[in-house]
Symmetry: C2
Subunit: 706 residues, 2 copies
C-alpha cells in the first residue's frame, strides 16, 4: 500500500469541523461527499452535534469506534494542531487540511505550519495542504468528492493538481462544462508535505489516469520534478500551467505562497527538457486535455482540414503555418474520391472546402477519405451550421468515422452556445470540439509537439577523459581564499584540462618582459589587460588585436595603461595577457553557466561577442545535459544558419561546439562550487584547428552551491 | 442622402426569392425581418405565391406599387442578373445579393459577377455581395435584420463587417452571448462593389456607431484603407481580424474569394501605421469589443489589480509584465485606506489580495480606493466566488463604483458558466467580464495600445531639397533600355543627388588604370568588382577592404579576377569600383524598399551587413512614411541599443538614419518605377562625417509599378 493511498483511496473518512450550518465549508464539504455517494465510511466530527446530515457525529477523532484512514480538517486555524494531535493518537494515516492561516500568512502561521510538520514526523501520517480546497477521487470504486466546489465530476482519465484553490475551482468548473471525466483532483495548497512530485509518482502507474494536468506557482524541487516527469511523460502526457514567472508575478507569488521566485528562463528550460507540455492559460489547458483524453496522439504533423465555409478554413490554414505544422498534401486517390463525391464547386485541395450545402453524408465520406490518406496525421473538421442541416447529424457522423481510425480528429463547431453546451451530455463519445479554428489548431500543435518529444531519442550523458585532479586543486585553493574570479591563467588551465581548445596565452606581470612573451606566441597577436574588477575589458580599451611587431606591442601596452588610467582602474591592473590571434573570419559564440537558487546550474549556449546581452540569441538548459540536448541547443538559436554557412561561407565545426557544451556540462557536474562561467568569445571556424577560446572567466563560490 | 443609405437605412425592402418553404434562405430571411420588427415597408417577391407569411407577395420587383429602396436577392444564381435588371428598371437604389455562384467559383461565375457590375453601372445602384449572408441595422429607427443567422441583436454601439459569411454568423452568435448591442452588421461577401472602406466611411460620422469591428481576408485597396483608417481611428476604435496572411492561408483565401495574397509583412506594417487594433482571433475580437463598448479608453498603462484569490492574481500580474503593461504603484493614501479596511492578512500591495473572506463591501471600498488613486489607469477585479458570498452582490457593487469614475474596469469572474451566461441579461450596465485573468489583461494591453496610438503625434512628411531632374533622366534612360539593375556609378549618383552620404568611389573599366583611380580616392581603400548578374559580390570574393598600397591593390585585383573565373562569372565582370574606406568600427545598417503588388512600396530599415536575411532584425512601413514613423522604425528594431551605444561605445548619428529613411521615402514618392532598392551596408558612426553608404543597388521596372 502506497503512502498516499489512505488520502486518495481512503476506506473511511472523518470530517473534523463538519457542521449543519448551511454555507459553511464544514457543511458544503459534507454535502459534497454525501451527494457524490462516497463508497467508504463517513464520520462527521464535531463536539457540538450528535448527528449531522442525519449521520452520527463524534466529539473527537479518537472517539470514532472504527479505524480512520483520512481526516479532512476544516476547523478554525487555532484548533488545527490539537485536531492533528488527536488524529495521530487515533492512528489516522492521512490528513487533508483545508483550514487556512499557515505559512501563507507568515508570522505565527509559519510557526503553526512547522508544528504541523512536526506532528507529521511524530505520527507518520501524510498531509495535503494546509490552505487547500480538498481532494476528489472520481473513480467508481471510491467516489470521494471532498471539496466544496459546486461540481459532481464524471469518472474518467484526467488527474488534476492545482496549487491554487481558486484556480482549482475554475478548473473543475471548466472540466464540468465539457463533461470531461476525472480520475483525481488534488488541491495542494501550501504543499507542506505532499506536492506535485508525490502526485506525479502516484499517478505514474495509476491505470485510471491517462492524462495529468498541473497548475503550478512554484517548484519545490525542480530537479526531482524533471527526473520524474522525464520518466512519466512517455507513458502519459503532462500538461502544465506555470504562473508566477515574471518578476512581478513572482513577487505576487511570494507574498502569496511564500514560494521562492521561479526564474522564467529556468522554468522554460526545465519544462522543455522533461517533456511536459506547457500552456499559458487554464483555457488552453482545458482545450488540450479535452483532446488528449478523447483522442489518440498524432503520429506526425501533417494536418488535413475539412470545412463547409471558406473563412474559417483560411483561419485554420493560417494557424497551421504560423504554429509550425504542415498542411497535408492529399494523395491523388483522396483528391479523386473527394472530387467524385463533392459538388463541382467544392475545393478538393487542403483545406477541403465542401461549401455550405455539405451535410452529414459529405462530412462522413470526406472525413473518411482524409483519415484513410497516409499523408494525413490529424484531421480538423470545421462545421458552420447552415440552414436545413442538423448539426447533431453531422456530429454523429464525425463520431462514427473517427472511431474507425487511430488518428486524432478535432472539431470546430461554430454553432449556437446552447447546442455546444448540451453536446458533451448528448454524446458520450463526443470528439474534442472548439468554437474557433485557431483553438483547434493550437491544440493540434501541442499534440504534435508531444508526439515529437515522445519520438525523440533519449540522449546520452557523455563523459570525456579529463584531468580533474589539478582542477580540483586550483579551485579548492581559490575557495580557501574566499572564492571570486579565478585569475585568467587558471581559467585557461581549467578549460585546457577539460579539453577545450584555448588560445595559446602568456601572462606578463605589470613590469614584465612583454617582448619575450610575444616571441613565445608569435606575431600577429593580441594584447589584453587583466586585473581584479576589470570585467568588460574592451569597454576601457583593454583589448588590442592584430599586433604585428614588437614596436606595435610596446605602443599598444602604453596606450592601454593610459586608458586604464583615464578609466580610473590603473591601480587594479595586475598585468597583461599576450595571446595568439584567433581566426579573424571565425564566428563568435558563447558558452556559459550560471546558478539559479532554485533550479541549480543552468548551461547556456548562443551567439557570442560584445553584444550577447543585446542580441540575446541564446538558449539554456538545466542539468543534466545529454548529447541530444547539446545538439538541440546549437540548432535552436536563431543564428544557427550562420554556423551552417550562408552566403558562400563554409560550415563551422558544429560537432566541436556540441562536444564543448557537453564538456561544460561535465565540468559543471564535477565541480559544485561554480557560481558563473563565461566562455566568450569562443571563435569557431570551419577547421577544428582554427577554433579557439579567446576569453573566459570563472567565478567560484566559497562553498558548494549546488 | 449618402449612397449607402438605401442599403443600410432603407425605407422599403423587397425580398426577391421569399418563400414560405421552411428552412430555405428565402423563408428564414423573411422570418428574421418580421420577427425583428422592421420599421419600413416589406415586399416579398415571388411569382409562385400571392401571400407569404400573410404578407402580400409580388411576381416581380417592377410590379411593386410603392418605391423600393433595397432589394435583397436570394434567387438561384441563374436568375440573379434578370432580377438585377428588373430592380434597375424599377429604380431600386441598393441590392444585397445573398445568392452564391459568382467570382468565388471562378469560370462562368466570374462572368456573372462582371455582368452584375455592368448593371450597377447602368442603373447606378450600389451592391452588397454577392455570396454574402446579409445585413443588419439594429438601431431603433430602422430595425432591419436581413440575415438568416439565428440572432436578434440588441441595439447598441458596435458596427461589424465580415468578409466571411460563416464567421459573420459566428461573430453575431458571440455578440449575442454577451448581449452586446449592435448598430450595423454587414456581410460583404465577394465585395463586388461595397467593401470595407465604403463601410468605414459610412460609419465614420455615424453617431450610433462607437466601435468598429472588421473581419478581413483581403484588402481591396490597402492604401485607401490606410488613409481612411488613419482619419477615423482617433474618433472610434477599429478592431481587425485579418486572416489569409500566411502563404498557405493566402492560397486557401484565393481559392475561396479570388482575393490576391496578402503579404503578412505588408499587412502588419499597414495596420500598425493606420492605428487599427489587430487581434488574432474572433474570440479576442469579442473580448476587446466587449470592453471598448462598455468602458472609457484608459489614459495610461498602469494597472491596478484587486483579487480575492492569490493564484489568479499571480496569473494577472504575470500577464501584465509579459504584455508590456505596468503594475501601478499605489499611493500611500491608497495603501493606508486598504490597510484600514481589509483584514490584516490581506496583501495591500498591487495586486491587492483581499483573501476569500472579501465580500461586496470590500470590493466596493477597495475598488473605489484603486480608482481614486491617480497612479492607476485601469483596474482589473478578480472574483472567485467563495461560499456564503453572492457573486451577484459583488458584481452590483463593482458596477456602482465603476460608474463614478472615467477609468476602465475589467472584471474576471471565475464563476459557474450559468451565472456568467445570465449576467449580461441581468445587468444592463454589466462591466466587461472574462473567465480568466489573462483575457482581461490582454484586453487591457490592447486598450493601452490604442491609447498610445491616439496620443501619438500625427507626424509630418518632410520634403528635402534634392536634385530630382538628373535622376529622372538617369532612370528614364534606363527604363527605355528595358530596366533592370542600374550600374553602380548611377546608383551612387542617384543616392548622392538625394542627399545620402555615399562613399567616394571611382569606376574603372576592366583594363582601366586602377592606380590612378586609387590616387583620386587615397589609401586605405576598398576594391569591388561589378558586372551584370554579380549581386552578392562578397560571396565570390569580390570585395577586398583595407588595401593600403598600390602593390596590394594590383594583387587584390588579380586575385579577384581569378576568383570570378573560378565562380564562372569572369565574363560578366564590367570593371571595378575603387572606394574610400568606411569607418571600420561603424555599425552596419540597411535601408531598402520593395514593391508589393497589392500594398505598393514598402520601406525597410534594419541592422545590415551580410547576415541581414538571417538575423532579420528589420522593420517595414507602407507609404507614406512620416518623421514619427521613421523614428519608430529605428527605435523598434531589436538592436536599437547598439545604435544608442552599449559597452562604452558612443551613440551613432541616429538623426542621420531617421533623416535617411525619410529621404528614401521621398525618393520612393518621386520615382514610381523602382522595383527594389537596397542600401547595404550603410555604415553609421558617432560622427556624421564618418557615416557612409558603402554599397547599394537599385532595380528599375520598365514602367511605373505604383
Amino acid at each position: 500500500m502506497k503512502s498516499l493511498d489512505p488520502i486518495l483511496k481512503p476506506r473511511s473518512v472523518a470530517i473534523v469541523g463538519a457542521t449543519p450550518r448551511r454555507g459553511s465549508i464544514g457543511h458544503e464539504l459534507m454535502k459534497s461527499i454525501i451527494q457524490y455517494e462516497y463508497n467508504g465510511k463517513l464520520f462527521p466530527v464535531n463536539p457540538k452535534y450528535e448527528f449531522i446530515h442525519s449521520i452520527k457525529a463524534y466529539p473527537s477523532v479518537q472517539s470514532i469506534p472504527d479505524p480512520v484512514d483520512l481526516a479532512i480538517i476544516v476547523v478554525p486555524k487555532e484548533h488545527v494542531l490539537s485536531v492533528a494531535e488527536d488524529c495521530g493518537k487515533k492512528g489516522v494515516k492521512g490528513l487533508v487540511v483545508i483550514s487556512a492561516g499557515f505559512k501563507e500568512v507568515g508570522g505565527e502561521g509559519e510557526e503553526r505550519e512547522k508544528a504541523l510538520l512536526q506532528l507529521k514526523e511524530k505520527y507518520g501520517y501524510r498531509i495535503v495542504g494546509p490552505n487547500c480546497m480538498g481532494i476528489i477521487n472520481a473513480t467508481e470504486e471510491v467516489r470521494l468528492n471532498a471539496t466544496f466546489a459546486p461540481v459532481q465530476p464524471e469518472s474518467g482519465k484526467l488527474a488534476i493538481m492545482s496549487q491554487s484553490g481558486a484556480l482549482g475551482v475554475a478548473i473543475l468548473l471548466a472540466v464540468q462544462n465539457i463533461n470531461l471525466g476525472l480520475s483525481y483532483f488534488v488541491s495542494v495548497g501550501n504543499k507542506a508535505d505532499i506536492a506535485g512530485i508525490d502526485l506525479l509518482e502516484y499517478w505514474e502507474n495509476d491505470e485510471r489516469t491517462q492524462v495529468i494536468a498541473l497548475y503550478l506557482e512554484s517548484f519545490g524541487n525542480p530537479l526531482r520534478f524533471t527526473e520524474i516527469s522525464k520518466r512519466i511523460f512517455k507513458k502519459k502526457p503532462i500538461v502544465v500551467v506555470k504562473s508566477g514567472t515574471t518578476a512581478a508575478g513572482a513577487r505576487a507569488a511570494s507574498s502569496h505562497t511564500g514560494a521562492l521566485a521561479g526564474m522564467e528562463i529556468a522554468v522554460e528550460a526545465l519544462l522543455q527538457q522533461c517533456g511536459v507540455i506547457r500552456v499559458s492559460t487554464i483555457d488552453e489547458m482545458m482545450d488540450l486535455v479535452f483532446a488528449l483524453t478523447k483522442s489518440p496522439i498524432p503520429k506526425g504533423d501533417r494536418i488535413g482540414i475539412l470545412t463547409n465555409a471558406g473563412g474559417p478554413g483560411i483561419m485554420a490554414t493560417d494557424a497551421v503555418e504560423t504554429l509550425g505544422l504542415r498542411m497535408a498534401v492529399l494523395s491523388d486517390t483522396t483528391v479523386e474520391t473527394l472530387r467524385d463525391m463533392l459538388s463541382p464547386e467544392s475545393s478538393v485541395g487542403n483545406p477541403v472546402d465542401m461549401l455550405a450545402a455539405a451535410g452529414p453524408l459529405e462530412y462522413e465520406k470526406a472525413l473518411d477519405a482524409l483519415l484513410t490518406d497516409d499523408g494525413v496525421d490529424l484531421a480538423i473538421t470545421i462545421f458552420v451550421p447552415p440552414l436545413m442541416i442538423e448539426p447533431e447529424d453531422v456530429v454523429r457522423k464525425i463520431i462514427e468515422v473517427k472511431e474507425r481510425y487511430d488518428k486524432p480528429v478535432l472539431c470546430v463547431l461554430m454553432a449556437e452556445e446552447r447546442f455546444l453546451e448540451e453536446l458533451p451530455r448528448r454524446f458520450r463519445e463526443v470528439p474534442p470540439f472548439y468554437r474557433f479554428p485557431e483553438s483547434a489548431v493550437r491544440v493540434a500543435a501541442e499534440m504534435c509537439q508531444y508526439w515529437r518529444w515522445c519520438s525523440r531519442p533519449q540522449g546520452q550523458i557523455k563523459t570525456f577523459p579529463v584531468k580533474i585532479e589539478p582542477i580540483k586543486e586550483i579551485i579548492c585553493k581559490h575557495q580557501s581564499t574566499g572564492g571570486g574570479f579565478l585569475p585568467p591563467i587558471e581559467v585557461f588551465k581549467v578549460l585546457e584540462d577539460y579539453g577545450f581548445p584555448v588560445c595559446k596565452s602568456v601572462i606578463v606581470s605589470k613590469g614584465g618582459d612583454i617582448i619575450e612573451a610575444a616571441e613565445q606566441i608569435g606575431y600577429p597577436l593580441v594584447l589584453k589587460v587583466y586585473g581584479e574588477g576589470i570585467i568588460h575589458k574592451s569597454d576601457i580599451g583593454g583589448v588590442v588585436v592584430g599586433i604585428k611587431t614588437p614596436e606595435e606591442l610596446i605602443k599598444a601596452r602604453s596606450k592601454m595603461e593610459d586608458q586604464c588610467n583615464a578609466a580610473g582602474v590603473l591601480g587594479n591592473v595586475s598585468g597583461f595577457v599576450v595571446q595568439e590571434m584567433a581566426d579573424p573570419d571565425g564566428k563568435e559564440v558563447i558558452l556559459g553557466m550560471t546558478v539559479d537558487d532554485k533550479f541549480g546550474p543552468l548551461v547556456m549556449f548562443g551567439m557570442g561577442g560584445k553584444y550577447v546581452e543585446i542580441l540575446k540569441d541564446i538558449t539554456f538548459r538545466v542539468m543534466p545535459v545529454t548529447d541530444i540536448d547539446a545538439w538541440e541547443m546549437v540548432k535552436e538559436i536563431k543564428s544557427y544558419p550562420l554556423l551552417e554557412g550562408v552566403r558562400g561561407e563554409k560550415r563551422v565545426d558544429i560537432e566541436l561546439l556540441v562536444e564543448s557544451i557537453q564538456r561544460l556540462a561535465q565540468l559543471v557536474n564535477d565541480i559544485h562550487c561554480l557560481r558563473e562561467l563565461d566562455i566568450n568569445p569562443f571563435i569557431v571556424a570551419p577547421e577544428r584547428k582554427h577554433c579557439k577560446i579567446v576569453d573566459a572567466r570563472i567565478r567560484v563560490a566559497e562553498k558548494d552551491v549546488y
